[in-house]
Symmetry: C2
Amino acid sequence: MGNKPKVSNAIIRRLPRYRRYLGYLQTKGVKKVSSNELSEMIGYTASQIRQDLNTFGEFGQQGYGYEVDKLYKEINRILGLDREYKTVVVGVGNLGQAITNYTYYYKIGFNIMGLFDVNPKIIGNWINDVEVMDYSKLEDYVKREHIDIGIICVNRENAQEVADRLIEGGVKGIWNFAPIDLVVPAGVALESVHLSDSLHALSFMIKSMDQSSDKSR
Amino acid sequence: MGNKPKVSNAIIRRLPRYRRYLGYLQTKGVKKVSSNELSEMIGYTASQIRQDLNTFGEFGQQGYGYEVDKLYKEINRILGLDREYKTVVVGVGNLGQAITNYTYYYKIGFNIMGLFDVNPKIIGNWINDVEVMDYSKLEDYVKREHIDIGIICVNRENAQEVADRLIEGGVKGIWNFAPIDLVVPAGVALESVHLSDSLHALSFMIKSMDQSSDKSR
């Protein structure tokens, strides 16, 4: 690996939010924005925002702020959204289909090239012009088509094996929806969406609030 | 509000992971586990784990560790998973349907009582024994049925209005899938799943790795 300074996980989480707000400002026709204005919208401090953006270059001007269009474009570039990615979805159940539709619908540069499943009843079906193929062909397909990202929508028991096959095939990143913390080698990016963890965190917050209001009565 | 010590967001994120690993140990028939063993599996330090669990009570025994079944049950209780929640889903597009199916399939105590949409073509349809109702009836329904949680699967533009209606109806929590940071009053729990942010974080990590390996060549 190189000697590029490693960017903290916290910044990686904040960058997409900056992008989201700048995209919103763009649709509203806003041309420039200060770090103070961004701070009021996003909730991070203005100095935090300036520091984050300074990590990647000099985008603002003292006393002027940021040009919205330019900063939006820069953040897209920083996030690697100035290119397209070839992806496959493994596991074409409800969630797999939803993620396929979501990714297709939003046209966000993550092109789903193939869908894979073990269920003979759905192999050969087409979803949004993409064919459902036999899982046994996954690794060959990923190699041949130079797939960048594998999206895992199978159950917990099978998720690590799917990840191993994707990695053998040469993917650079995995977007995991299975409720398990996958193990991947250095050099492969892993991002997980744990829906049940999220729902349980919500449940905890509701419970905590109930208890607070009981005590204050 | 009461004077209960507020639990940090970091602990709220860790608790569902403890639950996930303990559930896994349970399915494997493991009866007891030490904080060191948990640490190796989960990746947090053993002292972090002990400290987190001590926040909620004395669950372990010095030199013995934790009883898996008992700790799993306790964490369920702490997370508020020892009760059932009544939920509604607003926005029955691809994602709304997937979340409905997901929640239905896993039988995890979050019972979907009603689905709501504005599209006359799908109002009156049934998904997993739940009817799609007219969005205009949302607030009345939430009040009448004492709905606990509203799940928002509409687009960015409409999400805040949906949240306001759900809150007027009396929900205690919102599980938000729209790509926007909703504003909710104190006393209402908010948990968001920002799929696009997650995908953009993955993209960033892939890009960073590409650059590292370019430099090291």
